[in-house]
């Protein structure tokens, strides 16, 4: 795909894309998955550490991308490791991207049919969702960035609102003792927590879309773009554990939603606030779905040096079929873990290897 000169995004748009991509399933499941591993109330420390690891990993990704400021990963990977391996790596990442978008769609369908639309078949929930995503993607990175900028403030305000409304049932005792069982449990949860921060890999592509004069700000973009979800996640974990306690969290599939269901504030028009959380959460899933879908389509287009349009359409059935493959919710979570482990390799290890290769090559010439 030829890159249009107008297809440029500002640093603030890059930040928003990053935040919207990262915030997804994690908001609803992170408290449970991390507590399952840590088993003490110190989960928030794990989340904090996970965020810092994610920041370090994404800084490496940005450094790598800044070496080729005008190219996306799909283009420059071939420059580093040659045509065939480059193509192979790109394909891996493309597969990763559309798999994750399929995963997000399915999770969304599961939660929606559980909390909002009991009895509606999954396909009926997924189909319109994917079509709207298709409609958005056809407007390119600019349209995506603008839409994300619209839903970001809504997410921000509503999330803070529901988080602080739940202060009523928050009990600080549930979070004590801090480091009661030492540091080891905390470290056990770090990997799970890091997985909630999947998303900085989009910087492999985004740097190419930034304006020339603003490429140096990419580091700042990553720092801000990861700090915001970090704060979101820490607030979520602290609030959920504070209200439901460690034991209560483990038994619930969607602890954050349960938290919203477990308090009522009479007097306000809405007494219960899970609808608010669901609204912003569906929007966030939409954001994650569209950006990964776009990243996959863009990758295919750049790999085959063709127009992006046919790939956008071609990916639709593929994403749909993958999303319908897991048989039940447990399968789905396993599937999610699989994706996460792949991501740890693809975006934790691979950029470092590529950077080293680049350094060695640079030394020779």
């Amino acid at each position: 795909m030829m890159m249009n000169s107008q297809d440029k995004i500002t640093p603030s748009q890059a930040v928003v894309i990053l935040v919207n991509y990262i915030l997804a399933t994690g908001i609803l499941t992170l408290p449970r998955t991390s507590v399952e591993k840590v088993k003490t109330p110190d989960v928030w420390i794990s989340v904090f550490l996970g965020g810092i690891i994610a920041i370090i990993a994404s800084l490496i990704i940005v450094k790598l991308s800044q070496k080729f400021p005008e190219k996306t990963f799909y283009q420059y990977s071939q420059d580093i490791v040659g045509k065939w391996i480059g193509c192979f790596l790109s394909l891996l990442i493309i597969v990763y991207f559309f798999t994750i978008s399929a995963f997000e769609v399915r999770i969304m369908a599961e939660v929606t049919s559980l909390f909002l639309l009991e009895g509606t078949p999954t396909w009926a929930i997924i189909l319109p969702f994917m079509w709207i995503g298709l409609y958005l993607i056809s407007s390119g990175i600019n349209g995506i960035a603008r839409l994300f900028e619209i839903i970001f403030p809504i997410t921000f305000v509503l999330f803070l609102l529901v988080a602080f409304l739940s202060l009523g049932i928050f009990e600080i005792d549930n979070l004590r003792p801090v480091l009661g069982l030492g540091v080891m449990p905390v470290l056990k949860g770090v990997k799970t927590a890091t997985l909630a921060f999947l998303g900085p890999e989009i910087m492999l592509l985004l740097v190419a879309f930034m304006k020339k004069s603003e490429k140096t700000k990419a580091v700042k973009v990553v720092l801000v773009g990861l700090t915001i979800p970090l704060i979101f996640y820490v607030i979520t974990v602290v609030m959920v554990i504070g209200a439901l306690s460690v034991k209560g969290v483990v038994t619930r599939t969607w602890p954050t939603l349960e938290l919203m269901r477990s308090f009522e504030i009479p007097g306000l028009i809405f007494e219960r606030f899970e609808s608010f959380l669901l609204v912003i959460w569906i929007m966030q899933i939409f954001a994650t779905f569209t950006i990964t879908y776009f990243a996959a389509a863009l990758g295919l287009a750049q790999l085959f040096k063709k127009n992006i349009q046919p790939f956008i359409f071609g990916l639709l059935p593929l994403i749909y079929i993958i999303s319908m493959t897991p048989k039940n919710i447990n399968d789905l979570f396993k599937f999610g873990n699989m994706i996460g482990n792949t991501a740890l390799f693809l975006f934790g290890v691979l950029p470092i290897i590529l950077l080293i290769i680049l350094r060695l090559k640079g030394g020779k010439t």
């Binding site: 500002t10 219960r272 593929l318």
Partner: protein, 562 residues
Amino acid sequence: MWGKILSYIPEWKVFMQGFIVFFIPYIIFKLFNGIVSKQKTHEDEMKEINDQTNQKVELEHQKSSQGSYDHYTGDFNLDVELVKNEIGHNWDVHVREFHIGNTDIRAAIIFLDGLSDKELIDKHILASLMGNVLKKDEQESIYEKGVFLQTFIKNEVLSVSDITEEYDVKQSVGKILLGATALIIDGIPNVLMLGTVKGKSRNFEEPVSEALVRGPRLGFTETLSDNTALLRQHGENSDLSIINFQVGKRTKKELVIAYIQEIADPNLIEEVKKRIQSITIDDVAESGYVEQLIEDNYLSPFTQVQNTERPDRVFAALMEGRVAILLDGTPFALIVPVTFSMLLQSPEDYYERWLPSTLIRLLRYLAAAITLFAPSLYISFVSFHQGLIPTKLALSMMGTREGVPFPAIIEALIMEVAIEILREAGLRLPKPIGPTMGIVGGLVIGEAAVQAGIVSPIMVIVVALTAISSFAIPQYNAGISLRMLRFVAMFFAALFGLYGVILFFLLLCSHLVKLKSFGIPYVSPTVPYRASDWKDFMVRMPLMMMKRRPKMLHTKDSSRQD
């Protein structure tokens, strides 16, 4: 191992659905592309045909000009005949022949009854020409020199300010039809065109479609020169450029674009000119035609050109770096480019103090949100998520719906359609009957419908609130688009409940972020984030703080005050 993998291969149904998920949007995409591309090729063909016909016409024109007369000859009878051949068959064209005072030089004036100023013709043209023009002894010498006679008449006889000489028959005829008077004098090879145009126009009145409490009570009229004059009158400003075009293939109409030279983005001006020149329709009846022919996306439900009757609004837009388009024969001026936020703003926001203006603006955004989402949220809460609303409210809502035989969507549709019909009917009725309609429709039908148990009282409240909110939007056509979209939202809600409303919101935003008006993103300044433009967006900051023009318009001079 294999068995495990095989068990994960989905059923054939899923593959079928996978095909559907691809096929439906693909067909829609092809369909729309087909429409657009077909129209484009059609336009191209039209252009070619036009070019060919134009060439033919020119050729014929050249041929005919060799045979017959194109210019005035100086022979009185022949000249009058020439004009009569062109327009003499018209009932309202008058030819008055006479002799110039005290001589036997023959002359004639030709004018259009109705458009020309008869008083001026009688008192200042005919009277001075037929009176004692020449003294007896001067007669001979002047009669011999035709040209001298003309300058003499021009300089010493006619007390009319606007006089031009015209040699070409066609052009003079065109002017006569617009109200000028042609004076043909024997022996002179041209005609004098006297500016006696007295266009029919009405008085300046307060614009009906955009009433304000505070602000100038002055609206545009149907006369273009009056309208440009109103813009000029706003204050001395030598930068105000008013450039004219002629639009309409068959009925030529004057159209001007107005902009401030030192502020407006040259690219924008070029784009506007280009689009206006591409209009090839035979008659441009109203500025609505121009709007529809130059807008970016005709499939969008949103209006991409703002229309207004208020000169102050136009001028304020010009000062922001926008371009105004005024057409002869309509009081509605067009403003481009338009952003969504403009449709929720009123000139009054700037005339009142900033605090009330800000509050009123926020109120309008709320009204827009209610217009769009209130009925759909009602439907989704009633038919899907009774659990999400407070128990007491849910109970009372269900209680009032007890006798209603329809599902919520039908109930809502009945009332919404009824209120749209009421609105439409009230619009067309003569003024004295309008309020009666409101009482009969709103009160009687609403009350009776509730008592008959067809709709629930809460539904009536929701519908009434929605309708009133939609009228709180200052721009009439923006209100219409929102009301239209409200029905789409209702269907989404009926299918998917709250999830459907979210989907609708995402769809709407996806459309809005794609939309552009003359190169400016329709949703700016919302996104991309431009904090400096937010001073005049949902809030209206004090004037002292609004020191810059909107950044999104790429103006040449960005500062408004020091």
